[in-house]
């Protein structure tokens, strides 16, 4: 009897492994949650893109639910998602931009050409804020609630469907 059970063990082991491999097919190994989920927005002290004299810090994001979008002039996908961001701004969502690894000139050019849905843009030429946010590829978007806690993270391009299906509901949830 024990022998028969032992002989079945390899099959059982294989089936378990097979089940996991099957589950693996529907998982995207690249998609992962931000390490900053449910944590405070990182502290920073940077100037804004619009005004080189004005310094802002994390308190900028408190008081209202904010969508922080990390973009750059060099990033083609950021251009493609601008319509969606403008749409969100039209719907009354507060947007703050982080101009990541750009020069002031390039950043302003970008906004002039594609529109500016942002209330204000944090100028991050070195990418230090981006680094603290764990950004590894623009565009990335963070939803920050009233108390400055990061509640949702969207890596990459925001499609029109995403606006309706995920972003707006999340914004509403945390309002």
């Amino acid at each position: 009897m024990t022998r028969r059970l032992l002989l079945l063990l390899p099959l059982v082991g294989f089936l378990v492994l097979g089940a996991f491999l099957f589950m693996g097919l529907s998982i995207n190994p690249f998609e992962r949650d931000s390490a900053l989920m449910a944590r405070e927005f990182p502290a920073f002290e940077l100037t804004t893109l619009e005004d080189a004299e004005r310094v802002v810090d994390a308190s900028l994001l408190e008081g209202e639910v904010t969508l922080v979008n990390v973009w750059g002039e060099w990033c083609p996908t950021c251009k493609q998602e601008m319509p969606q961001l403008l749409d969100l701004a039209d719907r009354g969502v507060r947007l703050v931009g982080v101009d990541y690894k750009d020069t002031r000139e390039k950043g302003r050019e970008f906004l002039a050409e594609f529109g500016n849905p942002f209330e204000v843009n944090i100028f991050d030429p070195e990418g230090s804020l981006g680094f603290d946010l764990g950004v590894y590829g623009a565009p990335e978007t963070f939803l920050v609630d009233r108390d400055g806690i990061i509640r949702y993270h969207h890596t990459g391009y925001i499609r029109p469907e995403d606006v309706r299906e995920t972003i707006l509901p999340e914004v509403e949830k945390w309002r």
């Binding site: 491999l21 693996g24 097919l25």
Partner: protein, 667 residues
């Protein structure tokens, strides 16, 4: 421009091959089950036909590449008119569709070979073996035709030129590594088929192992060479001097290798002693299953890897189903048909049987460890426990100690006798070697670099522990009244096979130990006229220039290298290439190989002030890694060489057979 019919011919040939595989799969198995010789007789001709038509299909695809037929999607995606012809021919397997076609071709080739070289197999056994192989072929050909057809056309909008082969693949490594690897992976299907045939026929005596051994050893040798070539290729191609990264795709090739190593030893025990019969069957099934799983992991997108082919979950599902059916049914058959009561073969603690049991257990643990580490991130992710990474630190931490333990027993194995070795004998045969190994190992790092190093000592000790007892044993066994040479010639090929195989491991261990601990790497800034000293060599940049190749532009640096105070010098020319078709930049490393050290120079970044950031490396003993693998492979083949000789001789010449028989005792 006239559209050629060649791809269509290839496509039809593929379909015919599939039909033949179907017949080859079904008829012989049904014939063996119902004792119909006529049905069983389908096996050989179908195997021949399948191979023939697959060869035609493959030739058609290759022809499409060589003729720059960009109406074939596969050619357009992976080739280019400026590509040298030998890379066009290799580009056939440098992509998913072509490589699965190659896999199928090689499977058919092994099947054909088995049908040709198995005259002495009982008819029903051969029928079952061929039937199983036919079914596996069927699965793969179905996969090719349904999900990965290389003959798809881009009519009517034929592109002007192709997208070019990835520059990283435009290298000698592409010409040799995949075919060798596939010969190994697919070769294990033979022993798999034998095991299933044995289960189906209820004939689980040791006979099937005798027939299966040569096929298994040869497949294992191919896989060994294939893996070594992959490591060597990555080393000189990727620009960072590494030779193993525990990447999922690399692990996918190591898993069947580890199981295969256990298998070749287990087959020996079962053949000689009739022990571990069920275990050997299970191993045979598992080794090929790991080959199949490797295919799945590499092509399904389930794991991230730099080497991965097209990551396509829909193809992944097909392979998983194929895997599920093949492995699931095999293991079920095993559970149902493996003998419930095994004839207990007796042996004692210090017997070769026991030592090989330990060998098998350790190798299986190593296999499980590598498998666990490879799929663990997936496991956790599927259970919603987050995303982690498992990389070289984990694998090295576990694999190295396990290897050390394995080597400890490897020293004793060759000295032991079947069934029982008196402890006294074993001790007497090994204590000199053991002592010498310890002393030399302790002293080695001091002699080599003037400083003691525990890891290096350990590596040297275990390598010598493998070699020295065998050397002594060889010395003793080759004693002969007619002189040493006569004595050596009297020894069986199987014995030489074992010596070479184990020597190979020792050589690889030395290579790994030395290069891991003593490699030197320096990143320096160099402009024309600058000199740098690394490991006693002086590197001087004498020129920076622009060059043009057949399909690329390059920045090249001429580096003159001098050793110590020697007057003689040689030049190394690393390049930074830009491949025109894909616009892809690539580092071409300058390598100066040597038996005891490699010199390695790569261009890093253009620092825009007339100088470049260069990486210079000194890699001692790195070649030993791959030389060891070659020795292992040679050993594997030798170990079954005399067996085949004996078999053929027995058939033709009974007198000579009698003279050859005494060799049996020494094996």
């Amino acid at each position: 421009m006239q559209t050629l019919m060649i791809p269509e011919i290839g496509h039809y040939a593929l379909i015919i091959a599939l039909l033949m595989a179907l017949v080859q799969g079904v008829m012989p198995l049904a014939g063996a089950a119902t004792r119909r010789p006529l049905w069983m007789a389908y096996a050989r001709p179908m195997a021949t036909g399948q191979f023939l038509f697959l060869a035609i299909a493959y030739a058609c695809l290759t022809a499409s590449y060589l003729l720059d037929d960009f109406s074939v999607a596969n050619v357009a995606n992976n080739s280019n008119s400026m590509l040298p012809w030998y890379y066009k021919a290799s580009a056939v397997w440098g992509n998913h569709e072509g490589s699965v076609l190659l896999w199928s071709l090689i499977l058919a080739a092994w099947g054909f070979a088995v049908s040709r070289f198995s005259r002495e197999l009982p008819r029903d056994m051969l029928a079952r073996v061929m039937g199983v192989m036919g079914l596996v072929s069927l699965g793969f050909l179905a996969f090719v035709l349904i999900t990965s057809n290389p003959f798809e056309r881009l009519l009517p909008n034929v592109p002007q030129d192709g997208a070019d082969l990835n520059p990283l693949l435009q290298d000698f490594g592409l010409i040799v590594h995949p075919p060798m690897l596939y010969m190994g992976y697919v070769g294990f299907s033979v022993v798999f088929a034998f095991a299933i045939a044995a289960l189906l026929g209820g004939r689980l005596d040791a006979a099937w192992t005798r027939w299966a051994r040569p096929w298994t050893n040869i497949a294992w040798a191919f896989l060994t060479v294939g893996i070594a070539l992959g490591s060597w290729w990555a080393y000189y191609e990727l620009g960072w001097g590494g030779w193993w990264f525990w990447d999922p795709v690399e692990n996918a090739s190591l898993l069947p290798w580890l199981a295969g190593t256990a298998l070749i030893h287990s087959l020996a025990v079962t053949e000689k002693r009739g022990a571990f019969k069920s275990w050997t069957v299970l191993l045979a099934i598992s080794t090929f299953s790991l080959s199949l799983m490797g295919t799945f992991l590499v092509r399904s997108g389930v794991l991230t890897s730099v080497h991965a082919f097209a990551n396509d979950p829909s193809r992944g599902l097909f392979i998983l189903v194929l895997l599920g059916i093949t492995v699931g049914l095999s293991l079920l058959l095993f559970a149902l048909r493996a003998p419930r009561v095994s004839h207990q073969v007796g042996f004692s603690w210090l017997s070769r049987d026991a030592l090989l049991l330990i060998n098998n257990i350790l190798l299986v643990i190593m296999t499980v460890t590598v498998l666990l580490g490879t799929v663990y991130p997936l496991l956790l992710d599927a259970l919603n426990l987050g995303k982690i990474s498992v990389g070289p630190p984990y694998f090295n931490a576990l694999f190295v100690p396990l290897t050390v333990i394995l080597c400890l027993f490897m020293g004793l194995g060759p000295l032991s006798r079947w069934k029982h070795t008196p402890a006294r004998d074993l001790f007497q045969r090994s204590w000199h070697a053991g002592l010498a190994a310890l002393v030399i190992g302790a002293v080695a790092p001091l002699l080599y670099r003037g400083e003691w190093n525990l890891k290096v000592s350990l590596g040297v000790v275990i390598a010598l522990w493998i070699v020295l007892p065998m050397a002594r044993d060889l010395w003793v066994k080759s004693r002969h009244s007619a002189g040493r040479v006569a004595g050596l010639r009297r020894l069986s090929l199987a014995y030489w096979g074992m010596i070479l195989g184990h020597l190979g491991i020792a050589v690889t261990i030395i290579g790994v130990t030395v290069v891991s601990n003593y490699a030197i790497e320096r990143n320096v800034r160099m402009g024309v006229g600058d000199s740098v000293e690394v490991a006693g060599y002086t590197f001087t940049m004498t020129e920076l220039a622009n060059r043009r190749g057949p399909n690329y532009l390059a920045d090249a640096a001429e580096i003159e290298v001098q050793r110590g105070d020697s007057r003689r010098s040689f030049t190394m020319t690393p390049e930074k290439r830009l491949y025109i078709a894909r616009g892809m930049p690539m580092t071409q490393v300058a390598l100066r190989p040597g038996l005891f050290r490699d010199l390695y120079v790569a261009m890093g970044e253009d620092l825009e002030d007339g100088s470049w950031a260069m990486r210079i490396q000194h890699k001692p003993f790195v070649r030993w890694l791959w030389l060891g693998a070659l020795l292992m492979a040679a050993g594997g083949v030798l170990a079954v060489a005399d067996r085949r000789y004996r078999r053929t001789v027995t058939a033709r010449d009974p007198e000579r057979a009698a003279a050859v028989e005494p060799r049996e005792a020494t094996a």
